[in-house]
Subunit: 483 residues, 2 copies
Amino acid sequence: MADKKGAFVTEITPQSEDFSRWYLDVVKRAELADYSTVKGCMIIRPYGYAIWELMQQALDRRFKATGHVNAYFPLFIPESLLRKEAAHVKGFAPQVAWVTRGGDEELEERLVVRPTSEAIIGMMYAKWIQSWRDLPILLNQWANVVRWEKVTRPFLRTTEFLWQEGHTAHETEREAEDEALRMLGVYRDFAEQELAMPVIDGRKSESEKFAGAVDTYAIEALMGDARALQAGTSHHLGQNFAKVFDITFQARDKSVQHVWQTSWGMSTRLVGGVIMMHGDDSGLILPPNVAPYQVVIVPILRGNWRETVLPHAEALRDELSAAGVRVTLDARDWYTPGWKFAEWELRGVPVRLEVGPKDIEKSQVMSARRDTRDKMAIVRTEIVNRVQALLSEIQQALFDRAHRFRDEHTLNVTSYEEFKGVMDGRPGFVVAPWCGESVCEAAIKTDTQATIRILLMDGSGATGSCVRCEAPAREQAYFAKAY
Amino acid sequence: MADKKGAFVTEITPQSEDFSRWYLDVVKRAELADYSTVKGCMIIRPYGYAIWELMQQALDRRFKATGHVNAYFPLFIPESLLRKEAAHVKGFAPQVAWVTRGGDEELEERLVVRPTSEAIIGMMYAKWIQSWRDLPILLNQWANVVRWEKVTRPFLRTTEFLWQEGHTAHETEREAEDEALRMLGVYRDFAEQELAMPVIDGRKSESEKFAGAVDTYAIEALMGDARALQAGTSHHLGQNFAKVFDITFQARDKSVQHVWQTSWGMSTRLVGGVIMMHGDDSGLILPPNVAPYQVVIVPILRGNWRETVLPHAEALRDELSAAGVRVTLDARDWYTPGWKFAEWELRGVPVRLEVGPKDIEKSQVMSARRDTRDKMAIVRTEIVNRVQALLSEIQQALFDRAHRFRDEHTLNVTSYEEFKGVMDGRPGFVVAPWCGESVCEAAIKTDTQATIRILLMDGSGATGSCVRCEAPAREQAYFAKAY
């Protein structure tokens, strides 16, 4: 806060001028994150962490409601263990941090700081699972992971990040497939209900899927600059890891079989997604469900306000807080109300309430919505109900606005010229039939920078010929430039 | 569970035979933790992790109620940063893990996997704090830390462990001292109320204090084998780190001053503490407040029990669950009720309820307390109130029992012969006056293996002469053999 003292909030770069610069400005000025001296590692400041905590609670509740339990596996993975699954190590080895010394000694075997935990969990499942009666295993882990990134951006791509990784094991292929899709549904519900983030879901192409998976499913959202963000992935791992780590069980028919597995994850990258989906030139706009403060009360500093206004503001705060509203009262007397309005707008608090001598006289409170900037006087006695209604409205309005934006930025195209034209102009989702060949996918990427974000489930809607090579279409694909 | 199938729970080593073996048996058989292939790193299994989650919630609630917020700092600390505070690096450098490679490149500067976060947090505080208006900063972090240990034991001493570390910065020495003691009080309250763990509190001697602190305060508990366990520490850091990291602020009188700091931590070691404080030869005994399941319902499998008994058991479960009781129904038909009784005793569930045809006939439920093994029929219509009352009683009874045990194992001694005699026979706390000299403390450790666990606050009770060297006593000390 210190660098803003006594002055109005310094301007942040307008989105239209430079969206990327706007993002970094908001992250810094809203005190969501800061840089450390370790390249690519961020510090999540209390305001940013509080958003993540609300996300965690909302996700963890959903995991437990679907029968999952939490556990914790080690940070370090021996090199030999990571190397067991060929595709997995190929995908991750180039981007891991290596521990080579412990205390005063050189290690005999190098350790990897986990980039993900399939390997170590696979090893333990082999030990724990013996019979079909031990299945399914439905575990989740909240943890930090490390991927040695060359280009980083706070929340969106950092060397260390926080996430959850679910890891399940099942008797049959069908059960594993159902689980992978069930968790995709949980992610979708979470994104839409809590983050007010409309998403599309589908399957990843071969080139975009998780290293070691049979199928990767994902939800994708369109950010304020119409670039796509992968918001969560759910993998059907088949028996790939089970065969490598020898995870077998005695089946109901007494035969010995390999388990079928899934894994799925969401991370602190979602904090970045919320910023980029809803924010505007004045800063953050937080959906009420994940706003650390849903309401800020700003007392008007006039005359002996400590005696006249402050007690009213405190009573208001206590009343809202008792009703379960996350509320803060900004009673700092070294800032003007005007400065505070701008500051809390920058921080995206959904509702601002102002309390001054005139409001008290009229038994009312002035309210201001962050999303529409609408101001409205609320009768003091109705404040709790009205604020709760306002928060629901804002949550829905943010979702609706984002949904409209996505609709406006989703185009079906049939010719490659049209495709390239769209990608050259305003970005967004381009929906087009695709032949299913990686070579063709790569050529499209080279030509347009767009990648396949998802393929519609079961090839639904794939008719006609591939938008680029004109071979028969096997998939209906969503293309976009992505984060 | 797999290795126990079809058989009664295999015996665990009796406490009296080998307490240390008993501990390891319980950890393994109750499925609290398991070993990984990385030496000293444990896997916290779902049942053990659920205990930790309940501890986290109870602590986090207390931190927030005392005005603290959570944040997250990087896992990696550059070597040069750790080396800034001389005592700090001396204490920690010999036991850290070193990252020397990232991706395909050798790092220019080695990174330490955090053993604790004073250094990186100090660096950020220097950046964030400018004025007295920015103070106090009251932060906490939930994180994993790594200390390269030579001898490890699940929960009690592991290379990687989970903990919380509080880090605060204040205007004055007095405020920092008050904060350090306030958090010691929070720890004491948490241990006694939630873990049913009576503790003594006080100050650490020079040789036992945190590397870089002015004063370390601690709570200590006596385990079932009468050895002491340090359960939580709170450090007054003075201006040591502030001077090294240049954390200054403009004071109210416009002068530039260094902040005063504290740090404080509790870890997964407490799960080990709960096991060793309350357990018996049949396994775990969990205090209801941190028991993943407070109640287990075991249906009696007789005749067509799925039609006659199971619906009653399910109704009972739903009723208790709706009242906020953590309850599980063990309806597995491949285990006998007798096997289940032993299994859930081993897992320390505070209350077992049995439902059979006769109980249904009599409109009652049979209950069994894990701690006393008392059995009692409860009228079905009174079940919720009676179970809630029973859980409170058990929570209190465990605390009282542990308190009596500690009283019986705390002796005031005045002569060194008596001291050595006690330590040779049954261990426990020995309270004795001490001169305050490290040489004397070291000699006592060599002679008896006992260390100073805490010194009473403000030297209270220190009269007469040192128990060993007979110089004038400056402190009243609690000695014990410790974990």
